[in-house]
């Protein structure tokens, strides 16, 4: 049995090395003092980490990505929480069709959504690219919001709101005062999942870019094609730490994994 344990350890180590190793290399390359992307790094310096903050387009696209991730997810929750409440508490006419419509953005590849919005909303109607991006990101995150909030509603017994109604609350009052505080964790989990999904999203935003309007991952892709310096490596490392910190905090304080 002892031999088996060692074999298991080696297998796990190799798998993790394949999954995470490349990322450790990127971090090392980001801390290089040399001017081209290389491993092992040529000396140690923070120059590329600092350089990231000096690239003007990165600052603009980071701002746009943040805006989309925050407000797109909030919008998807405003639409998604009532929908989740309806699918878990009511017998809805055409329930299956509604579920499919809301889940569709997961099934349809993002690149197609981006192209469709560009072709039928941005070009003919003159909608701004930023608004199209906002709509696309909201649609993309909507299925996750509905699913995560539904899961947390299913864990909540309907008796509580019935009791609230019996005690004189209106239906809306019962929702606001009895249900909402109880699904707070689920809503936060949905927000974090939506934020990470939207922030890292590439295909949806691919066609939706205009002069000066680009999300951060698209900007990174464009930068990679032009230059071969370690600044994208540094940016990747910074972004990874940001998402890991968010997810870690969420897991620590909310138990994110209970909802996903």
């Amino acid at each position: 049995m002892k031999r088996n344990l060692w074999v298991a350890r080696i297998v796990i180590f190799l798998t993790l090395a394949f999954l995470i190793g490349p990322f450790l290399i990127i971090i090392a390359a980001a801390l290089s003092a040399g001017s081209s992307l290389a491993f092992p790094p040529q000396g140690f310096s923070l120059r590329w980490v600092i350089a990231v903050f000096e690239v003007k387009s990165f600052r603009a696209s980071f701002g746009l990505s943040m805006f989309l991730a925050v407000f797109g997810t909030v919008a998807s929750l405003i639409l998604g929480v009532p929908a989740a409440y309806a699918v878990t508490r009511y017998r809805i006419p055409f329930g299956e069709a509604v579920r499919m419509a809301v889940a569709a953005p997961i099934i349809v590849p993002g690149i197609i959504v981006g192209l469709a919005l560009l072709r039928y909303l941005v070009i003919p109607v003159g909608m701004t690219v930023t608004l199209a991006l906002f709509l696309a990101h909201t649609a993309l995150v909507l299925p996750y919001s509905v699913r995560v909030v539904s899961a947390s509603l299913e864990n909540l017994r309907p008796d509580i709101e019935e009791a609230a109604v019996l005690l004189g609350c209106s239906r809306f009052g019962a929702f606001a005062r009895a249900v909402l505080p109880n699904i707070r964790g689920g809503i936060l989990a949905a927000f974090i999942l939506g934020f990470v999904t939207s922030f890292n999203q590439v295909p949806v935003s691919l066609f939706l870019s205009g002069p000066g309007v680009r999300t951060l991952p698209i900007d990174m892709l464009a930068y990679i094609e032009m230059t071969y310096d370690p600044s994208v490596a540094a940016l990747s490392a910074l972004l990874a730490f940001l998402s890991i910190a968010i997810v870690f905090a969420a897991e620590r304080f909310l138990g994110l994994s209970r909802y996903v």
């Binding site: 297998v11 796990i12 798998t15 639409l79 953005p105 099934i107 919005l117 039928y120 991952p217 990747s236």
Partner: protein, 277 residues
């Protein structure tokens, strides 16, 4: 269950209308475009698309990479999941966290790392020339191999997660019993592990397969213009040639493929639920 239809509709309608308006309608118009030529309905665009050798190559390459990535991640996934499930609960949780971790990191960043490893002056080439195995750097970047490796790294966590969840419910005694009764490991796998983890395999396989088919970032960074896949071909047709007919055909192919795998997934999930008492 509440049955007030007006209330229910008022709650659901905003989300449904939003999804239909910004999503379903534009996508459907886009899909219908390839069927309309000169005012009448036809499938000429499809015939034209599939008659071009480049498009055929890209189509079959995408399918091939999808199957290969799914198959290899299933094999590695089974071995890894089996080892992870055998650990004590504390280290199992930690290792599981490390498997999930890459999913939170930007796919651009994860794919970019492979340039450092597989490039002309990358680690692999330095090792090969250092060991005297080759004189000149080997071309790995911008080949199918590079795209395959990138996709495998991107999607394997999904397979491992699904298989670990499936195997957690696997009775360990059954395996020991089969071993005591003289079954070889391949027999144990085919007759015990595989039937009992079928759902996990199908769920993981669907996620990996659709993910690989509809990948954009990996072929864009690691394949370039030489190793196009369906999504990079779509992007190229639109940006280089303004060719919306091909884009519409590719969009339909992608949707049909991911929708059918999604339906398969749903059926399996439903049969699993039905089987439970």
């Amino acid at each position: 269950m509440l049955t007030n239809k007006t209330e229910a509709l008022a709650l659901v309608l905003p989300a449904a209308v939003f999804a239909v308006a910004v999503f379903l309608i534009p996508v459907c118009i886009l899909l219908s475009e390839a069927f309309r030529s000169d005012g009448s309905w036809s499938i000429a665009a499809y015939v034209e698309f599939f008659s071009k050798p480049l498009n055929q190559t890209v189509f079959f390459r995408t399918l091939k990479l999808g199957f290969l990535v799914t198959a290899v991640s299933a094999i590695v996934g089974y071995v890894a999941a089996f080892c992870i499930v055998g650990l004590d609960p504390t280290s199992r949780g930690r290792i599981f966290g490390l498997v999930v971790l890459p999913l939170m990191i930007s796919p651009v960043a994860r794919t970019y790392a492979w340039i450092v490893i597989l490039g002309r002056t990358g680690i692999v080439n330095k090792a090969l020339t250092g060991l005297g195995l080759t004189d000149a750097p080997v071309r790995i970047l911008f080949t199918e191999t590079a795209v395959f490796i990138g996709l495998l790294q991107l999607f394997m966590p999904l397979m491992i997660i699904s298989l670990v969840s499936a195997m957690e419910n696997l009775p360990r005694d059954a395996i020991s019993a089969a071993r005591v009764l003289g079954a070889s490991w391949p027999q144990v796998f085919i007759r015990i592990i595989l039937p009992l983890t079928r759902e996990g395999l199908v769920i993981g396989g669907t996620l990996v397969f659709t993910g690989s088919l509809t990948a954009y970032i990996t072929p864009a960074i690691l394949g370039g213009a030489k190793v196009l896949m369906l999504e990079t071909l779509l992007y190229q047709r639109v940006t280089v040639a303004n060719d919306f007919l091909s884009a519409s055909v590719i969009a339909m192919i992608l949707i049909v493929m991911s929708f059918s795998t999604y339906m398969l997934l749903k059926r399996v999930a439903a049969s699993k639920r039905g089987a439970q008492p």
